[in-house]
């Protein structure tokens, strides 16, 4: 496959978003922002049918990682498409959609929906944690 991410570039054009390419020896990579939030798309050269769209967030210092893991698990059970993962040591949260595609062009008509679900999952994750915090404070 020449360039796995051409279809994603077209989808970003459809969405009216700027993006940057940052390919290296291992992977094809795209970075972009939507409403100020950062996202990435990656496809590995040795596994060209695998495509990942995601966004990474820092876990605020006041959030307990056990609470965060609980919320992440609940979202993983409930949410379509999105995987929520926690890197406890780094206190990072990663929201990803992982797909198996013949060509990234297949993603193009669904890109808006996938972006929405990524955005909504991140929003729900932090909203629920904030609610938990507020309840503990009462």
């Amino acid at each position: 496959m020449d360039d796995t991410l051409t279809g994603v570039e077209s989808a970003l054009d459809d969405e009216g978003l700027f993006f940057t390419r940052d390919d290296d020896d291992e992977a094809y990579r795209i970075a972009f922002k939507s409403e100020g939030d950062r996202y990435f798309v990656v496809a590995y050269r040795d596994d060209p049918s695998f495509l990942m769209i995601g966004s990474g967030w820092a876990l605020p210092a006041e959030i307990d990682t056990l609470d965060a893991t609980e919320v992440a698990n609940a979202l993983n059970v409930r949410k379509k498409f999105v995987k929520t993962a926690l890197w406890e040591d780094e206190r990072d949260v990663l929201f990803t959609v992982e797909l198996c595609v013949n060509s990234a062009e297949e993603v193009r008509p669904h890109f808006g929906r996938l972006l929405d679900v990524l955005r909504d999952t991140a929003a729900e994750f932090f909203d629920e944690l904030r609610e938990d915090e507020d309840e503990e404070d009462i």
Binding site: E15, G16, L17, F18, F32, K33, S34, E35, G36, G112, L115, D116
Partner: protein, 155 residues
Amino acid sequence: MPLVRETVAQFIESEGHKVDVSPVDAEGGVSELLFRTRGQVFSVTTYENDPATFTISTAYEIPEWARERGRNAETLADAGDDFPEVAFVMAHDGGLFIVTCDETPGSPEAFTRSLWEIVARVREAGAYAIEKIVDRTESKVAAEKFISSFMRGDQ
């Protein structure tokens, strides 16, 4: 001092979105900034003579089968009661409606700080109205279908 339209356009671009700036009234310093987010095109109107005031709007197309002008105007008026901070305006002979929100945050910088919240509010109001229009039309079609088959003695 930078132009209001430039400050706002630069902010939207820095947030990842392409912006198309066009003058509406060059003499009066009125410009329209168009950008797309979550599949929907939004317009921000800026006024160089009044840098504290902004208008955000977006249009929703009404499906052809749901274009009942009188009823939809009524539905939009009801939606207006639920979202008093926005205005709903029917356009293009009932083919679409526009949701508009006037904001006076005080400065272009203050406006950019709340831009995505306003966009979200306008989007929520528009989605609510289009859902009401579609639901109402679907219910009406279903009721008419039932009545007509009932009158024929099918029920």
